[in-house]
């Protein structure tokens, strides 16, 4: 009997993969202590026993719904579940406080649905032409694209550029530990058998994001934000006429979301903030932003959900993740022995179109779940943070153990958990380290292949049209933030002298 139940449970997990993903994605987005990336990481071990298609669908559904769940707590309780939900505090919470939380929730849901459907359409439209172009790429093009990915992650990640670069180089260095694939030479192993196997990106990612975040919150004494009641929770969807009146906001924020998605490194958070800023500059009612108007809710929510499809395009066509969540999805692809890239559209076409279809269904499912399950969803806010955090750590540890059934992987989790804590403490961003660890080997292989194929002629990166164009973009992505920092500092230095009589 127990066996039948077990098989049935396994069957439900497979059949309901998108629904499970949507629910878990929303739950992690609602909980302020759990980030969307951490949630996708924690779901990873459950995909080991699944076929690749439901695995990727599960994680993608989590990613889609995770961009919406945090909006509920931002609007109702002024608790942003994710950094991307912060702009929703300004108008969403203000509208709720003014006595219309149902309308605020309705605008968010409508915006997430619109952004999701637009992003799914863009993904289907752009991915195939992107993949066709990418098929003609050689190693110099791949190296320049990976380099562009690195620099834009660093440049758009916010904070100190030097810290972001240190984090990136640290991750790339970690990926070189172990036996070199070309020469079979030990690199930085110091005689340790554990290090000879190399340091996988999974322990780095799970340790830094999962255990590291729990350690940060433990150091703050697990102080959960207080949840004040809002009476009966309901959602009132705007009418089509009301939505049509905001067509300019929908168009602008969709464009911002998709572009931020395609550019590696500019995640949903950046999209959300940029879109709010764009609305503040070009919106019809820009002067009223922050006072609780629908434009201030629609702009960030459409952009953050619309960024998902944009992120999936470079992931599927080039194998380059543009955000933390897509880095984990790339990890799931690799764990199942599938390397995303232009070839995947020929070798695994069914998988690719199943992912496309699942995004459409996921968006609709997210809408239904957001409308009907809002009350049970916000109940998770009442769970004690200490208990939630212990389970997060255990998921991290079991997830890392399950990859090779090896306890030494758990030591790596502990080490990178402490590294993650120190990174937070010393204000180094974690995302560049994780991306450096994942893409470091790709960069090394494409660089060495280019050097061998083109007889150590490094000018090839600047003489081939595509590679040269991407290198120029890379230079721009590096120089522009430096120029921006320089201008800000100069303005700050000049400010007191200007103020003086």
């Amino acid at each position: 009997m127990l066996d039948v139940l077990q098989q049935l449970l396994g069957g439900f997990v497979h059949v309901l993969a998108p629904a499970n993903g949507l629910i878990v994605g929303m739950l992690v987005a609602v909980l302020p202590g759990l980030t969307l990336v951490m949630g996708v990481v924690l779901a990873l071990p459950f995909t080991y026993g699944m076929a690749i298609t439901p695995s990727i669908i599960l994680l993608t559904a989590m990613y889609v719904s995770g961009t919406y769940g945090g909006a509920i707590t931002s609007i109702l309780f002024r608790i942003p579940g994710e950094p991307m939900d912060v702009p929703l505090l300004w108008d969403g919470y203000s509208m709720a406080r003014a006595g219309d939380p149902a309308q605020a929730l309705g605008w968010t849901l409508f915006a997430a649905l619109t952004g999701g459907l637009i992003t799914a359409t863009v993904m289907v439209t752009l991915a195939v032409p992107f993949a066709k172009v990418a098929l003609s790429f050689d190693s110099p093009e791949y190296f320049s694209i990976v380099l562009f990915g690195f620099t834009s992650v660093v440049a758009l990640g916010g904070g100190s550029l030097a810290n972001a670069f240190i984090s990136l180089f640290f991750g790339m260095l970690v990926s070189t530990v172990g036996v070199d694939e070309i020469y079979g030479v030990d690199r930085f192993t110091f005689g340790s058998d554990v290090l000879r196997d190399g340091i996988g990106y999974l322990p780095v990612m799970v340790g830094a994001y999962g255990l590291g975040e729990v350690l940060v919150r433990l150091n703050q004494g697990f102080v959960s934000p207080s949840v004040s009641g809002q009476g009966r929770v309901a959602t009132r969807i705007p009418t089509l006429a009301q939505a049509w009146a905001l067509r300019g906001t929908f168009a602008r924020s969709s464009l911002v979301g998709v572009i931020c998605g395609i550019v590696p490194g500019a995640g949903a958070t950046i999209a959300s903030f940029v879109s709010y800023g764009v609305e503040g500059q070009y919106g019809k009612r820009r002067r009223q932003l922050g006072s609780g108007i629908p434009e201030g809710i629609v702009a960030p929510q459409v952009a953050s959900t619309a960024s998902v499809g944009g992120h999936m395009v470079p992931l599927l066509t080039l194998g380059i993740p543009g955000s933390g969540a897509t880095a984990v999805i790339l990890g799931a692809f690799l764990l199942h022995g599938v390397q995303p890239g232009p070839q995947i559209f020929q070798t695994q076409a069914l998988l690719v179109y199943a992912i496309f279809a699942s995004v459409f269904l996921g968006v609709i499912g997210m809408g239904l779940l957001g409308y009907f399950a809002i009350r049970p969803l916000i109940r998770v806010l009442y769970l004690p943070e200490a208990i939630v955090s212990v389970f997060v750590v255990l998921f991290c540890l079991i997830g890392a153990y399950s990859e090779h059934n090896n306890i030494s992987d758990l030591w790596m989790i502990v080490v990178f958990g402490i590294v993650g804590y120190l990174f937070e403490r010393w204000r180094f961003p974690i995302a560049p380290m994780v991306l450096g660890c994942i893409l470091g080997p790709v960069a090394e292989t494409s660089f060495l292949t280019t050097m061998i194929s083109y007889r150590n002629d490094w000018t090839v990166f600047f003489t081939r049209p595509v590679s040269a164009s991407v290198m120029a973009l890379t230079a721009l992505a590096l120089v522009y933030p430096l120029y921006r920092q320089f201008r800000v500092r100069r303005r700050a230095a000049l400010a007191p002298s200007n103020a003086a009589p």
């Binding site: 077990q6 449970l9 396994g10 997990v13 071990p45 080991y48 026993g49 942003p80 950094p83 912060v86 505090l89 300004w90 203000s94 990640g157 916010g158 904070g159 100190s160 030097a162 810290n163 670069f165 240190i166 180089f169 640290f170 260095l173 070189t176 070309i182 020469y183 030479v185 030990d186 690199r187 930085f188 255990l211 433990l218 150091n219 703050q220 004494g221 697990f222 102080v223 903030f273 004690p384 943070e385 200490a386 208990i387 955090s389 212990v390 750590v393 255990l394 079991i398 399950s402 059934n405 306890i407 758990l410 502990v414 958990g417 120190l422 010393w426 204000r427 961003p429 090394e444 150590n456």
Partner: protein
């Protein structure tokens, strides 16, 4: 003193990069024609890492008044609704942090000996208590229920081989496996 504290991570990383650069000079391999060796890529990264650290150290030494980079979190923290008071900066509990790290290290170290079930029950109980949760009946229920749920999901549904421990602790794992029908 604050400046020294701000410089510490960069000095540590720079020193580590120096040690690893020395190590990279001594990779034992036989060169193949004019192909780049296995040390080229790591050494390039180490040089870039060192340069980034030096840039940051010099910046900090030249501008001691601005030691902390502005992060997205800072922007977010400053993004509260203006008519409400800003939240107080969080208090820090280094003793809790040290205990949490020690418990996690002990959990990993004892996993092979105690087995997954016993080790997990103890870990959940200890870390929940360390996290300042004080309702012992809830802690006990969560610890036993959580460990059993993990065991069932991962061993029975996901077919993962979790450590059963050494005798006499292994007998507890084997008994539970028998009760759950795990072969």
């Amino acid at each position: 003193m604050p400046r020294m504290r701000a410089l510490l991570p960069y000095v540590l990383v720079l020193a580590g990069a120096g040690v690893l650069s020395y190590s990279a000079l001594h990779f034992g391999y036989t060169p193949r024609g004019d192909r780049p060796g296995p040390d080229v890529w790591p050494r390039a990264i180490l040089v870039l890492l060192g340069v980034a650290c030096i840039v940051r150290i010099v910046t900090l030494l030249r501008r001691p008044a601005d030691p902390e980079p502005v992060m997205l979190q800072d922007v977010i923290a400053g993004a509260h609704v203006t008519d409400e008071p800003a939240p107080a900066p969080p208090r820090h509990y280094p003793a809790l942090l040290a205990t949490g790290i020690a418990l996690t290290i002990a959990y990993v170290a004892l996993l092979g000996t105690l087995g997954f079930f016993i080790d997990t029950v103890l870990y959940i109980a200890a870390l929940t208590r360390t996290g300042r949760y004080r309702r012992w009946p809830v802690i006990a229920a969560v610890a036993f229920g959580g460990a059993l749920a993990f065991m069932f999901i991962f061993m029975k549904v996901v077919y993962l081989s979790l450590p059963i421990g050494r005798p006499p602790f292994a007998s507890v794992s084997l008994l539970l496996m028998q009760l759950m029908g795990i072969r």
